[in-house]
């Protein structure tokens, strides 16, 4: 079952992925098909597991200050900075609408 163009467009906007070409979209479809196999298992009356860590103990840390004070190191990664601030564009630049952007999906 192919994935609808609207859904692909929505995913591209939300996750900022670029399905790039037919192969990329096909890979997505195969991944969904693979995951759908889970529906074949009867899970009536079974608590869902959402983490393989469910039996592990969640380690609790003491409330001590042990890190920070490394502005210089962190700012080394920044393409642009002003004094000790990271510089970002004025707001989110929304992905242009499907019709307006160069995406493989346009042709679909």
């Amino acid at each position: 079952q192919p994935v609808a163009v609207e859904v692909l467009d929505h995913l591209e906007q939300l996750a900022l992925v670029d399905f790039r070409d037919a192969e990329g979209v096909e890979r997505l479809r195969k991944a969904i098909q693979f995951a759908d196999q889970l529906h074949e298992v009867n899970t009536d009356g079974v608590e869902p597991m959402d983490s393989v860590l469910e039996d592990r103990c969640l380690y609790l840390r003491e409330d001590d200050v042990t890190e920070g004070n490394c502005a210089n190191e962190l700012l080394k990664n920044a393409r642009e900075k002003v004094e000790e601030y990271f510089v970002a564009p004025p707001g989110n630049i929304p992905l242009p609408k499907l019709e307006e952007r160069e995406t493989f999906l346009q042709g679909s």
């Binding site: 860590l53 969640l58 003491e62 004070n69 601030y85 990271f86």
Partner: protein
């Protein structure tokens, strides 16, 4: 015209009072050099992992218990995804599915008709309390068309308190938030100072006709004080009513409160409806809390959060403190509200009572009507008062022993306020404010007055 029923639901974010952040060991502090309180995890550098701070868990449990919630012995962490420059990971770790506390209530009081003498108690239901990360701060530089990002706040622990839409107006919203603020400050789980961003309130507002379904709601943000909260909510209710009565519709949008204009304005469109793509946080197992019964035998106590242990150590909440003040000192309920409403005032009052012979019922008048208005006039906190509780007690003793009159006492207080270091007695002597107690002396004075006004006396005697 059919009446309108306003519906107000609040979402409150309280910054947890802790030394370090929710999932990392960088410091929590207001106003520090930009990006100096940021760890590799806070900056979302690859390969870093969240490690939960026990103090934050305890703060949330305390708050949940104080708000009569059920504490979930097992709660889960989730990722809430959205893109913004001050959220370096691209997601916030929160508790969307199973939060740490649910189904509580908050009682608060309102004055009827602005008369302090008639107070009514109301309740708002608490839907849930969840632990989550704060984001960094964005400073918008419109001139250079850029945003400066400071991640000092990124990762600080928050308790989000979600209330059911049980409130109906600005006054209720303000009273409920004020009471929550006092509770948080009493517990110490948050300092809850709105001006420093430690307590942030968003209001969801809608109106409908009785019997009809709820109307479309708007979300109002950017409310920076309790006073503005009341204004913002009332403005938005009015705006919606007017819009609907004029045949318009309400958009499900986010609006910002403009405190200068006293109105709400649409916020920049946040890219339409948000899809947060919630998913379980894969790096954190479920958070398990224990109580006296379920406490495991051989566990390291540092790894255990015991709900019962925390419950036993909860301090007296504001409502209990007020009841105790009323019972112990015979003051009125509205007096107790006024005492708790001002930081340090209860302590001051109690110290004065300890040191004076004047009855608490009389002392309270001097504290609330005289001292408090002086403090307000000069914009001082109780701690900054130039008149100490000792001096106040001293003054009230002079009054109680009838050595001075009430009027004289007020004059002395005005002098004391100058903070020149004189004692009340010194001022009384200096200004000759002593009441004359001697009967003979009083007779002499009266006689002298009569003697000096012979004509007037004759007129009076003749009728």
């Amino acid at each position: 015209l059919a009446p309108w029923v306003p519906v107000v639901g609040l979402e409150i974010h309280a910054q947890i009072s802790s030394n370090s952040k929710l999932f990392s060991g960088s410091q929590v502090q207001f106003a520090a050099p930009p990006n100096s309180l940021v760890s590799f995890f806070d900056a979302s550098l690859p390969g870093t992992l969240p490690v939960l701070n026990r103090r934050c868990v305890e703060a949330a449990v305390m708050t949940g218990l104080a708000l009569n919630c059920s504490i979930n012995k097992k709660s889960l962490f989730d990722r809430k995804h959205y893109f913004y420059a001050d959220l370096p990971a691209g997601y916030q770790i929160t508790q969307q599915r199973v939060p740490i506390a649910v189904n509580g209530s908050l009682s608060y009081s309102l004055c009827i008709d602005n008369k302090m003498s008639q107070m009514v108690t109301k309740t708002v239901r608490i839907k849930q309390i969840q632990l989550e990360q704060d984001s960094g701060k964005s400073l918008h530089d419109d001139r250079r068309s850029q945003t400066l990002v400071d991640l000092n706040r990124a990762g600080v622990g928050l308790m989000e308190v979600v209330m059911e839409p049980d409130l109906c107006c600005g006054e209720e919203a303000a009273a409920a938030v004020r009471e929550l603020q006092l509770i948080l400050q009493t517990l110490g789980s948050s300092q809850a100072v709105m001006a420093e961003g430690q307590l942030r309130v968003d209001a969801n507002v809608s109106v409908h006709h009785p019997g009809e379904p709820y109307g479309v709601r708007t979300e109002v943000k950017n409310i920076n004080s309790i006073r503005f909260l009341a204004k913002a909510v009332d403005y938005e209710i009015q705006r919606q009513i007017e819009e609907l009565e004029n045949g318009g519709t309400i958009l499900n949008e986010t609006r910002a409160f403009d405190s200068k204009l006293g109105c709400t304005v649409p916020m920049r469109d946040k890219e339409g409806k948000q899809d947060y793509r919630f998913m379980p946080e894969p790096n954190l197992p479920p958070l398990i809390l224990y109580d006296a019964k379920s406490l495991p035998a051989n566990m390291n106590h540092q790894q255990v959060v015991n709900i019962d242990w925390i419950h036993e150590r909860l301090p007296d909440l504001p409502s209990v403190k007020r009841a105790k003040l009323v019972e112990q000192y015979g003051i009125l309920p509205e007096h107790s509200f006024a005492l708790l409403n001002e930081d340090g005032l209860t302590e001051f009052f109690e110290n004065v009572v300890k040191q004076t012979q004047m009855k608490p019922k009389k002392v309270i008048g001097w504290i609330l009507n005289v001292l408090l208005s002086y403090l307000k006039q000069h914009s001082l906190t109780v701690k900054e008062s130039p008149v100490s509780s000792f001096m106040m007690a001293d003054l009230l003793n002079l009054l109680e022993r009838k050595e001075i009159s009430s009027t004289a006492a007020k004059q002395v207080l005005a002098e004391l306020w100058k903070g020149e270091g004189k004692t009340p007695l010194e001022i009384v002597k200096e200004k000759k404010l002593e009441l004359i107690q001697d009967q003979k002396e009083l007779e002499q004075i009266c006689q002298a007055v009569i003697d000096g006004q012979e004509n007037e006396v004759i007129m009076m005697v003749l009728g």
